[in-house]
Structures are given as C-alpha cells and as structure tokens.
Amino acid sequence: MTESDKHRLLVPDDKVLAGGLMSVPIIYRFRGPLDRAALSRALDRVVDRHEALRITYERAGLRRLREHVLPPGVHLPLSESVVSEPDEAERLMAARMAEMFDPDGLPLTADLYRLADTEQLLLINVNHRVTDAWSNALIRRDLARFYNAETGVATEPLPAVEWLPGDYYTWRDARLAGEPGRRHAEYWDRQAPLLKWAGLRQRAEKFGERRPPSRTVDIAFAPGDVAALRELATAERTTLYAALLALLYGVLHAATEELGLVVCSIHANRIRPEAWNTVGQFANLTYLRVDLPSEPTFRDVLRLTRTTSLDAMAHQEYPIFNVVTHPGTTPRTVSRAGEVAFNMLATPPNADGAAGTDFNGLEAVALPFPAGVSSHFDLELFITPRPDGLNGVLRWAEGVYPPELVSAMADTYASMVSAVAQDPDVALSGFLKRFR
C-alpha cells in the first residue's frame, strides 16, 4: 500500500502496534435479532473492499517491521463473549484497546459482547496506522451496507474506491516534491518558532513518558445558540468550525489570561475526491496560533481565528512527519503545541458520520470514543455535528489537570456559546473570573 511512502515501509514496532494510542475504535450497541454470521461475512467484505485493512507486518530486525498487503479473501475473526453487565463489557473493551496489535494479524480486530439475547456491543478496533475518523465513517457505512445485503435487503451499490492508499501517497509525494511542498516548508519556517504550550499544564510534560488514560466531560449546545453561531459565522464569511474554535480560544484565554494561544487542529485532509471512499490514514494536524489584542471581544477572536485557520488550511496536507523533521521543530516542540486539540472532522459524503446507521432489523447506536483510552493530546475538544445540532465532548488526560479546571472550562465554553449567541461583541474579560 505504501510503496511510495518510504518512511512507512520499515517502522518501529511499538509505534505501530501500541495499544491505546493507536486505537481508533468503532463501537455499536445493537438491540434486536443480530444475524451473527451475516455480520461476520459483512466484516469480511469490508476487509476485502479496503486494501488498508489487509496490511500485515513482518519482522525486519529487532524492533522494525515491514508492511505487506494480503490479497482479498482474508477472514477477519469475530470473537464473541458473553458478559453479565455493561460495565464488564466496557472493561473488556478498554483492555482490548490497550493491547498491542498482533503483528501477524490484520490491523483491526472485531469483538462482539453479548449482554442479553437481544443486546450486544460490537467493538471494531482499528489501528490508527491504517485509518482515521473519515475512514472509520467509511467502514461504518460499508459494514451496514454489507450487513443489509447479507441479510437479504436490497441495497444501493457502494461508490467505487477510486484511489488505493498508495495512489494517495504517490500523489501527495509528487505535490510535496513540487510547488506545494515549497510553500508548506516556507509556511513552517514562519510557524515553527510560534509553537508553544497552551499554558494550562501544572507541570511540564516529561517527554516520552507513558500517556495517561483520558476522561471526558460533555458540553451541551442549545439548538438556538447553534443557529445563532451559524448566522454569525456566515456574516463574518467564515464557518461554524471557526466559530467553535474561536470559542475554545476564548476559554483558553479566560483560563490562562494568555494572548498568544496555540491549538492543534485535526483535518480530514481528503483534498482529492478520488480519496473520499478510501480507507487509510490521511488525516493530518495543523497548529493554529492567534495573538489576541488586550481586552478582546469575541468578534476579535473570531476574525483572528478565521485568518489563522484559512492560513493553516492551506498547509493541512504537510505531513506531521515533515513537521516533526522540519528545521526549527523537534518532536518535543510539536508535542508541546499539541497540548490542546480541536477536533471537528468533516464526514465523507454518503456516510452518516457518528449517527446511528441502519442495520436491517436492528436498533443500532454508534457509541462515542470510550473514556479510559489514552490520547496524544492532553486536552481535546470534539465537536460532532448531529441532525439535531451539535455534540461536544471535552477529553482530558487524567492527572495532567485538576478535574475542577476541566469542569470550569467545559462550563465556560457552554456559557460563552450562549453569551456570543446573544452578543457577538461580548468582551471576554467577563469570563476570566471563572478561573481566578
């Protein structure tokens, strides 16, 4: 799959196979008469359809692995366990996600946890090296389609997978070798010195230490406020993405009283339609810095966010590998800038994102990213668009921040949304006292 992607050919095993950090899970709760055999066949068809899911590794030295792609026709084992209560299922799932991936197996596992005859949990744990949030949405879409086909429901044919992951990397490498690559490098020359801690941590991270497990706290949005935010974004010729990111900057400013703020943002980076139906790891990070005026209003923050995010967007395809190895940056500086992340991913066309998917005869609910699993980021705001509005989750690394700080940030975020919906020119100074 990655012939052109030289640095991927031989990879350190712990980076590829490490549990937790490399887990990008898909979790469903099914209620109703699940056809287990049909589900298993559907899973195999998903693996057949997507080359990235057929990657295996071969030992090529003490701690190095070489990638191979298996031909279609591979069977993905679907394990099944009976559990007595939801908590047990959660524990088992957390354990599965914390495990190392089997270097000889496929880059994904599938486990079914039977709670009762009519209630089951499905965990598809996919290795981050071959997937990203967009890819997982494709897997969900394709799995539902194949399950329906396997249970006798007439289904629309799936859109063709146009580019294999290797095609994408070949295209990307050609771009990076040309004018776009030159532009990105130039951007990073300017950007690298601007990376900094958000300033929330009580103690500096010891680089290379084991990532702590994460905890989550929900952020609720009132539908009316979301509509007002959209309107404001349109009036400022920007997007809801920028408005929600600006709110995060506002909260960080309130919490730290810093004016220079850096947030890391995750982009789907599917900037060629040929890659829209391809499972692979194409998502990328950008680092967005705003320098606020003293006594900023929200509109100030929004306008600066618009500028900085448009600027960063132009460089979203510059791989994190290049960023880390860029002159002037080190893994440490990049990690520092990645303390706070903003995650509002685009979803593939024809895939319903995080919402429930129609499995024949089942009540299916896609469950959110579970707590307990480690993350690359200390503090990460997930925004997921839903048919009825927005869903917000603040995920944080346990032990890195006092729980009260994170709660205060989540509360401040929610009240800032309402305040801004009332008055976009609201001064941020009023929110500072929440953290004093």
Partner: protein, 621 residues
C-alpha cells in the same frame, strides 16, 4: 543605377526568351489560344518603361500600379517592375486607404491599367502623385494623363537602392505592413517555385491569384516566365468554371488557397478527360489540414503539394512532389530554415522547435512601413550552427511569426502561428488544432477558429462553421464531440454558422481580424444566461472551473457569479476544489482567497488567467 537594365533581371529573362523562342506563348487568357508571345511581351515591357521614363520616372522611384486581372495588366506590371520600384495596389481598397498608402510611400506616379476600371481612377483621384492610364495598342503604349499631382521627378526614393517590389502584407482591416523586395530577391523567390516543382518551358500555370498579391505576381507570373513557360490569367474564379478553363487552356498546374480548393474540388469536370495535362495542384496561403489534403487528392485525382510562404519571402518551403525524396514535413525550397528557440538561439538541430526563422536571397530587405516597427530579423542572433556571428540583421534570419519543429529528414512542420495563437486566459491555443478537430466531424464542411477579445481573459475562442449541405449540428452536441478530442480550454465557446468563411482579399483567412469582421454576428450569438437565469460560463476556463465546482459541491445549478460559500462550500469542499485547481491547472489559490476575494467562478477563472500568464511569479500566490 545608371544602367536601368542592371536592375531589371526580370526584363532580362523575358528578352532572353524573346530572342530564343519569341513566338512561344507567355501570357494567355481563357478563350484566346494565341495570347501574348514572349516577343510581344518584351515589346510591351520596353514600351511601358519608355513611357514611364518620359513621364519623369527614374530608377529608385516608386510607381504604384492599379492592375486589372487581364494579360495587359500582367505586362504592365512587368514593365513597371523593369523601370522602377513597383507598388501594386488592390483596386478594391477604399479611396482613403489607397490615398494613405500612396502618400505614405511617396510614389512618383500612379499607373492605372486600362482594365482596372473607372472605380480605380476615382480611387487615386485625391492622391498627391499624378495618375496616368496606360493602354496598349499593338506593341505601343498610349498614355492618358488623368490629372493632377506634382511632377514625378520630385518624388523621393526608398531607403534601398535596389528596391524593386513593394507589397502590402494581407490584412482584412489594417493597412498591414509594407515589404520591400529587391529585383534579385524577386527572381530568387520565383526561382524557388521553379525549382520546387521542376517547372520547365512546357509548364503552364493556371492562375486565379490576383496580381497585387505575391502569389499572383511572383509565384505565378514571374515563376512561369523564368523557365520560359506560360501563365493563364483566369481572374475572379467561379469555382464551377475555373477547372473547365484550366482544362481548356491545357494548364499543367494550378494553385489556390485552401478555401478556394475546397470550393473548386466539388466541381471537377466528370464529362470529359480529366485531368488533361495537369500534373499537380498546389495549395498555399493557408494551412492545409490532413482532412482537406485527403479530400483534394481524392477529388482531383492529382498530387497535392502544400506550400508555405509569405509576402516577405514568397515561397519558403513545400511538401515534395511524387518522385522527389519523401519528407515528413515541408522541405525548404528558397530559404534556409531554422528555428528560434526559447532562449533566443537560432537552431538547425533536428527536433528543435520554436519560431521559424529563414534567410536567403529571396528574403526581403525589411519593412518600409509602418515606421518604428521592431526589426523582424533575429536581434543579435548568432547562428551557432553555421559559425556566423550576429550582424546588424541577426545573421539575416527573418522571424516568420510561425511556430515550427525541425525534423530529422531536413523538413519541418508548422505547429502554429505566433500571431494567430489565441490567448484564452493565458492558455495559448493553436487555431489549427481546434480546426482539425472541428473538421473531423462529418457535418462540418469548413471551420475556422479565432480569438475574440475579452476584457477579462484576453481572448475567448470562437469558431465559424460552414456545415455540409442539409447537415445540422447543435452547439451542445458539437461541444460534447469536441470535448472528447480537445482539452476544455480548446473547445470554442461561440459557434457562428455561416454560408461561407470570411476571407481577406487575397483569399486568406485572417484569424486575427475575424472577431472584428464578425463583431455584429458575434454579439447576436452571445449566450447571456442559462435557462434558470444563472450566468453561464463565458470562456473555456470558466467552463472548466465550473466543472470543478460542480464536482466538489455536487450540484450543477451554479452561475459564474455565485458565491462559493453561498452555494454551500465549506472548508473541506474548498480545500478539495483548490487542490483540484492546482493539480489540473498548476495555479495555486489559497483558502483565504477563496473565502475572501476569489469567491466566484468568474473571479477564479480570472485569477487563473492572470497567474498562468504571469510566468515570472511562478505558480505561487
């Protein structure tokens, strides 16, 4: 210049033939088998020269001639050529245009052919120079003074002492440029045609080209006389009768423009012995497409040669006749041919490509009008392949304005015309390529592509179509057809259907001025809005950009002035769009621009045009 004959090599040739084979026919007209023999022609040329001298004309003076299309006019032109610098005038020019031209050249005398008609007399009535009509009676010439003007002897002479022929380069609307050729250059130019087609004293040219054009005067008249052959003057060809006249007059070759050939080949006589003594047909003054060549070869049943030439040098090259060594392209006939490569280097290497440059005895002195024109010769050029160093005329290499590629067999191909390249938003489109694609459609009989000036994108591509009898072809159907053969930028945006292709007086298609000539028809044909009221793309670049927007936004109902965000474009769609634009067009547009300034298809196409044409800035923002 004390000995007038020294500057009259054409007269010398005529005299030589008059001495050795005085009764042989030189100039004929259909229906007059005797025609003008070499002896009588020599007598007339001498008579004209004597008359001009009597009127005060001296060698070096410029004398305008308004010729008719008959044998007498041919003799008159040769007489003027033997006495002074001959300036042929097209009888169809407007009075003001003619007066401008003659005053600019400061001609000493204006000579009207008897057959030129009264319109010609009115045409020159207001000119500064005196005008006369010369009428032949037997071997004598009768001078009729038509009045006015200052004495001929007070006129100036040109900058070149051996100037013999001044030609206006053809143009439908502008005065064009005035080419100055020496007497030796004229002969060398005609000799190139003689050599290329192995013309002998038994050859007879059937001429339908006017005498004020280099083809008629040099390539036809003088080229026929050099080896002692003959020419049939067959003016104003009616395509249906032209070929009958060619057969009747026992012509051995004929030449026409591609357009004339297209018309004539449908009238090959089927009721009698065709092709008689005709041994080949020549096609000149325009690009011969492969399709037309095949049509002509089949229709005429004769070898078809394509010649490449220009007023500045007459015939430069031609495809070979059967029996001559074969060649993949045009074989140089009268000139050395090289190309001016991108970095200003003249190259004769095989596979070199660039602007075609030529040098040789047939190449003009230069332009005598308009003043201040940039030198058409390669500036400071060093012909590295010949070891020459650049002199005042860049080692004498004349830039032709045509683009070409040299082939290993010594021939070359014309790949486009610098002047006729259409600049569609920075993209240089060769009309030849577009025309070849259009002509490949069975419903299309004739097609010409040309540029239409556009305030935003420099030019748009337009086309004139002549459909075959009874054929119909819708714009959309034709666009779809062309879309499979051409890049989107090369698909014309406007099609005009006409009964004929507008041509210049020389029969040449003037792509550069068609937009002006057809301005009214083009305005009427302008599409304004799509059925739903949205503004449709107006240029190929806009059409292409709209295609990308539709792909990304998954909708077709997009006007070129609609805002990207208003159409539902978010940052994800924006990035996809911008990478598609950069990957397919090499133009980088930033997301900040897309959401701030370059928010419409119109603006994006304009930015693409701007950034494509601005090579110094590269593809960056």
């Amino acid at each position: 210049m004390s000995n007038p004959d020294a500057g009259s090599p054409v007269l010398a040739v005529i005299e030589r033939h008059a001495r050795t084979r005085g009764d042989a026919p030189a100039i004929l007209v259909p229906g007059d088998p005797a025609g003008l023999s070499y002896r009588r022609l020599a007598g007339r040329v001498h008579a004209v020269r004597a008359a001009l001298t009597g009127l005060g004309v001296r060698p070096g003076h410029r004398v305008a001639v308004v010729p008719g299309e008959d044998a007498d006019s041919a003799a008159l032109l040769l007489g003027v050529l033997a006495a002074a610098a001959c300036c042929p005038v097209n009888p169809l020019w407007s009075a003001a245009e003619t007066q401008d031209y003659l005053d600019t050249l400061d001609v000493a005398l204006i000579v009207l052919a008897d057959g030129a008609g009264t319109a010609a007399a009115q045409q020159v009535a207001a000119a500064k120079a005196p005008a006369v009509t010369l009428r032949f009676t037997g071997e004598d010439v009768v001078v009729e003074e038509r009045g006015g003007g200052r004495p001929a002897e007070t006129a100036a002479t040109g900058p070149y002492p051996d100037e013999a022929l001044l030609l206006r380069t053809s143009g439908t609307t502008s005065i064009g440029k005035v080419v100055s050729l020496s007497a030796a250059g004229v002969v060398a130019a005609a000799q190139a045609t003689v050599d290329a087609y192995h013309l002998t004293d038994s050859d007879r040219r059937f001429n339908i080209m006017p005498f004020f054009h280099v083809q008629g005067l040099v390539g036809s008249l003088i080229a026929s006389l050099l080896p002692g052959g003959s020419i049939v003057c067959a003016p104003a060809p009616d395509p249906a009768t032209a070929l009958r006249h060619a057969l009747d007059s026992e012509a051995t070759w004929l030449s026409a423009t591609p357009t004339m050939h297209r018309l004539m080949v449908r009238h090959v006589p089927r009721d009698r012995e065709w092709p008689g003594p005709l041994r080949f047909v020549r096609c000149g003054s325009g690009a011969l497409t492969a399709g037309l060549r095949a049509e002509l070869e089949t229709g005429y049943g004769l070898p078809v040669v394509e010649s490449y030439g220009m007023s500045e040098a007459h015939q430069i090259a031609s495809t070979p006749l059967p029996g001559d060594p074969g060649a993949a392209g045009l074989v140089p006939t009268g000139s050395e041919v090289a190309v001016l490569e991108r970095h200003g280097q003249v190259s004769t290497a095989a596979d070199a490509s660039g602007e075609i440059v030529i040098r040789g005895a047939n190449v003009m002195h230069g332009y005598v009008w308009p003043p201040g024109l940039e030198s058409p010769f390669v500036r400071g050029g060093s012909a590295s392949d010949t070891g020459d160093t650049g002199d005042a005329q860049g080692a004498g290499w004349l830039r032709t304005g045509d683009l070409g590629r040299l082939l290993p067999d010594g021939s070359f191909l014309i790949t486009g015309r610098v002047k006729e390249m259409v600049n569609v938003g920075g993209e240089k489109v060769s009309p030849f390529e577009v025309e070849a694609a259009m002509l490949s459609h069975p419903a299309v009989a004739e097609a010409v592509a040309f540029g239409i000036p556009d305030p935003v994108r420099d030019e748009q591509l337009g086309a004139v179509l002549v459909l075959g009898p009874g054929a119909t072809l819708g714009d959309e159907e034709f666009r779809a057809y062309l879309g499979q053969r051409l890049a989107p930028v090369k698909v014309p945006r406007l099609f005009l259907r006409r009964a004929d292709i507008p041509v210049a007086e020389s029969g040449k298609i003037q792509r550069g001025s068609l937009a002006k000539v057809l301005a009214e028809e083009l305005t009427a044909a302008e599409p304004t809005a799509e059925p739903d009221g949205r503004t449709a793309p107006r240029t190929p670049v806009e059409a292409m950009v709209k295609g990308l927007w539709s792909l990304v936004l998954k909708r077709e109902d997009i006007g070129v002035d609609n805002d990207f965000m208003a159409l539902g474009g978010d940052s994800m769609a924006g990035m996809v769009l911008l990478s598609l634009v950069e990957d397919s067009l090499g133009v980088a547009i930033t997301p900040a621009e897309l959401f701030t300034d370059i928010t419409t298809i119109e603006a994006m196409a304009a930015a693409i045009g701007e950034r494509t044409s601005d090579t110094t800035r590269g593809a960056g923002r």
